[in-house]
Each structure stands twice: as C-alpha cells, then as structure tokens.
C-alpha cells in the first residue's frame, strides 16, 4: 500500500484556508460539489512535486488555462490567482508530511509597479501583440505590474529560501524546470486523454501492457496490441491500436472511453513510486465499466506503488471504487478513504472529513449516504 503523503495542511491556496487533511490512504477519493475546492486541493498537492522550483508553481497556475494557452489568461494573472483574495496578504502556503519528512512550503510577497525597458517587454510578446504594442508605445520606460517576494521551502527544519519575481509580461516558456523532483507526482486532467500520447509508458513494460490490453478488451474484444509507428510522410510518431480484424487503427479513431483507460493506465506507470492525481475520474467512462476499470486502477496502483487522489462528482464512481474492496468479507484492511471539504468563509477555514471506505460503504448500504455533501 502506497502512502507517500501522510497528511497535508493547506494554509492558503486559492479559495482554501487552513484545510488540514489527516490520515491519507492509498486511494483517496475527493468527493464533492462543484466549486468545493477539489481541483484546488490537487493543485496544492502539486506544490510538493518540486517545491524548491519557482517554475513548478507557475506551471500549476497555468493548468486551468491550458486549453486556451495562446489566447487565455496571461501567466502573471494566472499566478496571482493562486493567492487568496479574502486575506490582506499575498501568501500561498502549505505543510505536509511525506515519507516521514515534514515539509513546509511558502510563497509570499507583494504586487508592485516596476519600470521596464520596452525592448525587454517586446521580447516576451507574441508577434501580433508586439506589433500592436510597438504602435502604441510612446515612452522610454513603461510601468508594469509585478510580483516580488520569496519562496521558502523547509524539509525537517532545514530551510531554503529564494527570491522570486514575475512581471505582467512573463511567460513560462524557456524557464528551467528542475529535474530533482521531491516526489514523483503526475496530474491527469479531465481532458488529458484527448491529447494523444497516452500509452508511451505502457508499451515499455510487456507484462503491464498485457494487463492494459485485457482492460481495453472490455470495450472491444478484438484489440490485440498497442504500437507507436512513425509516419513516413512527416516522420511523426503516431499511436495505433492493433485490431484483429481492422489492422492498425490510429488511436484517434477510437472513442474517449478507450483513450481514458489508456491515459489512466499510462499515468499509473508514469507515477510509479509516487503520487497520481486524477481530476474527475468519471469523465468519458460509462458507469457500466466502472467496476472493471476501477478494479484495474486499484490493482495497478498497488503494483506500481502509487498513492492515488481521485476527484469525482459522481456517486456511481464512488460506489464503483468502493466495490473494488470486499468489505463484507475482507479483514479490517481498507485501502480507500473518502474526503469531502466544507468551506467556512466567516472563519476563513475549510473543514475536511476523511472517512474510511468501509464506513462510507456501510453508510451507503444503511441510509443511502450522500457522501458528496
């Protein structure tokens, strides 16, 4: 059973304040209504992925904007949106216990105006915007919004701090990404499965590929293999599903369900020895497949020593995940917990409820427990 993150205390992050989540389990189902903070909790956990790297927090801030990468919110604005609006200081902070170590993470600072050389600004802009700005520019130096502060990172009392600065024209491209991850952590968004490249990790391990193929055969019994082939015309790699009757079919011709299963399976292999964060697990999977797919998910996560955090709106998905355990017969062992959050804006605090899967299962049986509320 993987339990890399034992507990977490999100001090300030987006709309969350003072959220303590204790007794984390191997599989942690984060249930709740829209806007209850489920995705924010996953994002906050990602701060632990590479806590001494400022690029990490910038990448996290951009995750919600990835679908509109070229026309969406500026990086600076995405970053500023990580800070709670309902307190008078700019601070993102969390504490956690991971693999027996106490971790403290904090980014704090202030917004101010800085003067920038227009040349420096122009270098950071896309051509269309650059031309527009060159037309409008009429001064030698321009005033720009900026955040100035520091990142503090502490492991078992050993503190490291670094100054951080980002201006309104900053981009994430070209920034160094430190490779020394504190913990291997993979985030799977509700739409990642439609982007392609969802089985590169699976095919590196023949035994695992066989297991994944058996899950895919739930959808189509004549799927026989997964292959990545190079297109001779443009020399790009493309993912194909080998079908007994149809031959090699590009993955793009298959439905979202198959892509989702592959992307889940791939993410488990990517997260080996670490943590997998799955946002809205139910997306693209018909509820009739929940039992089989979730059984595979739980089994594979144990095999790869992956602690899993799963957000969901779906009570059927929660029931499906609980059904992976045999609570009527198994001993007190329980790999699942169900987490729910409740914000109290008057107290500036978010409360957590962490219930063991067995308890939720019994409540569901006894009174149809609406565990998402």
């Amino acid at each position: 059973m993987a339990n890399h993150i034992e507990n977490i205390d999100i001090v300030h992050f987006r709309g969350i304040h003072s959220l303590m989540i204790n007794n984390l389990n191997h599989i942690n189902i984060i249930a709740g209504d829209n806007n209850s903070g489920k995705t924010s909790v996953l994002e906050a956990m990602l701060l632990l992925r590479n806590p001494n790297d400022f690029t990490n927090i910038l990448r996290i801030s951009r995750m919600r904007d990835t679908n509109t990468f070229f026309s969406g919110t500026p990086v600076y604005e995405s970053f500023i949106n990580l800070f709670p609006r309902d307190i008078d200081k700019m601070e993102v902070a969390l504490n956690a216990k991971c693999r027996g170590k106490s971790i403290a993470y904090k980014v704090h600072g202030e917004q101010k105006k800085i003067m920038m050389d227009p040349e420096d600004v122009l270098k950071k802009l896309y051509p269309a915007k650059r031309n527009r700005m060159m037309r409008d520019m009429d001064s030698e130096m321009i005033e720009v919004d900026a955040f100035n502060g520091e990142l503090i990172y502490e492991v078992d009392g050993m503190r490291d701090r670094m100054p951080v600065e980002i201006d309104a024209y900053a981009t994430t491209s070209g920034r160094e990404i430190k490779k020394n991850n504190f913990i291997n952590m993979i985030y799977l968004s509700p739409t990642d499965h439609v982007r392609g490249f969802v089985f590169d990790r699976i095919i590196r391990n023949d035994a695992y590929k066989e297991i994944c193929l058996r899950v895919l055969q739930l959808f189509d019994s004549e799927i026989v293999d997964l292959v990545i082939l190079k297109n001779e015309d443009n020399s790009r790699s493309t993912e194909y599903i080998k079908h007994a009757k149809l031959g090699n079919m590009p993955l793009s011709t298959y439905g979202d369900g198959i892509k989702k299963v592959l992307s889940l399976a791939n993410a488990i292999a990517q997260a080996a020895g670490g943590v997998l964060l799955i946002d809205e697990v139910e997306t693209a999977i018909h509820s009739k497949y929940y039992d089989d797919i979730f059984r595979f998910l739980v089994k594979a996560s144990i095999q790869f020593d992956v602690q899993v955090f799963i957000t969901t709106h779906s009570i059927e998905a929660i029931d499906g995940l609980l059904a992976t355990q045999d609570y009527e017969h198994q001993d007190q062992k329980d790999d699942i917990s169900v987490l729910t959050f409740k914000k109290n804006s008057n107290e500036l605090r978010t409360y957590s409820r962490v219930l063991r899967g067995r308890h939720v299962y019994a409540n569901r049986e006894q009174f149809g427990f609406e565990v998402r509320l």
Binding site: K342, R353, L355, F367, G368, F369, E370, V371
Partner: protein
C-alpha cells in the same frame, strides 16, 4: 430541517404519526434522498417519513424498549455525525415500573455521546462533534409515558378513552375483568406490561368488535385521539418538534 422521533414499537409509531398528522399537519412522504434509514421489519422495527412544508420528520419504532441503543448506533448515529441529519430528536418511551432517573440514565447510555443533556418533558440543547470536526447542535426531548407514574402507552390510551363518560365505564370493567381472569391466565399475563395490553385489547374489542381482526394501524386510526386532553398534555412538547 429533519426531525426524528424514536419510539419503542410499531404501535407507538402509528399512534404518534396519527396524532401528529391530526394535530400538527405532518403528512406521509417518501424518504429524502441520501437519508433512507432502513428498518428491519423482521426485528419489529419501522421507519416512516412525514413532511410539513419544507420540514421532514422520521418516526422510527426501534423494535422494543431494550433496542434504543442498538437502533441508534446502527442506523442513526452515522447519519447524525456524518451528515448533521437531524436538528431535533425525541424519544418516546414507557415509564413501566422504572424510576425516572433510571430511564434518563438508560437513554443517556443509548444515545451518548451525541445526546448527553436529558430531562423528562423538556427540550434540551445538545452539541456533538461531527465528522468535519465541527461542533453541531441538536435539541433533544424525552417523553416518558405516563410522565409522572408507572405505566405505558396503553395506560395513556385507556385514560384517553376514559375521557368519555360512557367509555370510562367500559375501561373500568375491562380492567376489572383482566384482574379477575389474570390468575387463570398467568402464562399469558405474567407481567404488568402484558396486563395493560390486555386491558386495552378488551376495551377495544368491546368498542370496535368489527375491527378485532384488523391491523393495529386500523384499530388506532379508528379513535379520535386528537380530541383527547390526556394525549394533548402528554405530547404537548412533542408537538414542538
């Protein structure tokens, strides 16, 4: 908000549902989503929901006076701690031949740690820690029947029937009859509780012979309990649920 009444058995539950419908307008409804408390009828339990405007009331028969604790622990406690399911809880129990303090102690043992503040016939504020580790509140009422003397629900019903002069005579004669026959029927009427039931049974058999083979539901619903002063006094606080 949701309210809860726990009573000993199905008869009590039927009487309470009838009485609260007639006097306070609680009408039957299906269980609200996510709070479908399931009773085991083979164990004499019952669970029925009622509505009044936006409020809901659950009346449960727990399958006997010794089952308040187990019913509460198995079927109610998690709903309260995990979902703050009920804002008001009442227990209606027979006085029998117990002292009031011993009844309160027993209820406290059954409902703790959620309910700790208990007085007979008085709504008491109680607080508990829910599964979000927040302090939550629930008002609690204990109704002992009869309130101030030994007896049971049947005592109350016989007193209510006796409010009518003609029926009072029937009640008196029924009690005399059961007293008279008791030595011959010792194996059926060994306890006072059973004797009381027999007194009510004889009275009803005389008042409503055509209902003799009807279900208890029919029998109870054939009396206009809502007009009784005795019941009005006994359930005065319960009507505030």
């Amino acid at each position: 908000m949701n309210k809860l009444i726990l009573c000993e058995g199905k008869t009590d539950a039927i009487l309470l549902s009838y009485y609260l419908e007639k006097t306070c307008g609680w009408t039957h409804r299906n269980a609200p989503k996510g709070l479908d408390i399931r009773a085991d009828e083979t164990r004499g339990e019952s669970a029925y929901w009622y509505r009044r405007e936006s409020e809901s009331l659950l009346i449960c028969g727990v399958g006997g006076k010794d089952n308040f604790g187990s019913f509460f622990r198995e079927k109610i406690q998690s709903a309260i701690i995990d979902t703050n399911a009920f804002s008001k809880v009442a227990i209606v129990t027979d006085h029998d031949d117990h002292a009031e303090k011993s009844i309160i102690d027993s209820v406290q043992a059954s409902l703790g740690p959620i309910i700790t503040q208990i007085e007979n016939g008085k709504w008491m504020p109680n607080s508990y820690e829910n599964s979000y580790k927040q302090e939550s509140f629930v008002d609690f009422l204990l109704v002992i029947i009869p309130s101030d003397k030994e007896g049971a629900l049947e005592t109350l019903l016989l007193e209510a029937i006796s409010e009518n002069g003609e029926d009072e005579a029937i009640v008196k004669r029924s009690i005399s009859y059961v007293d008279e026959i008791r030595p011959l029927a010792a194996k059926y009427l060994s306890k006072n509780r059973l004797k009381l039931k027999a007194c009510l049974g004889v009275t009803w058999a005389i008042q409503y012979p055509e209902k003799l083979f009807s279900f208890i539901d029919d029998q109870i619903r054939s009396v206009r309990w809502e007009e009784s002063q005795v019941l009005a006094q006994c359930f005065e606080q319960l009507k505030n649920i």
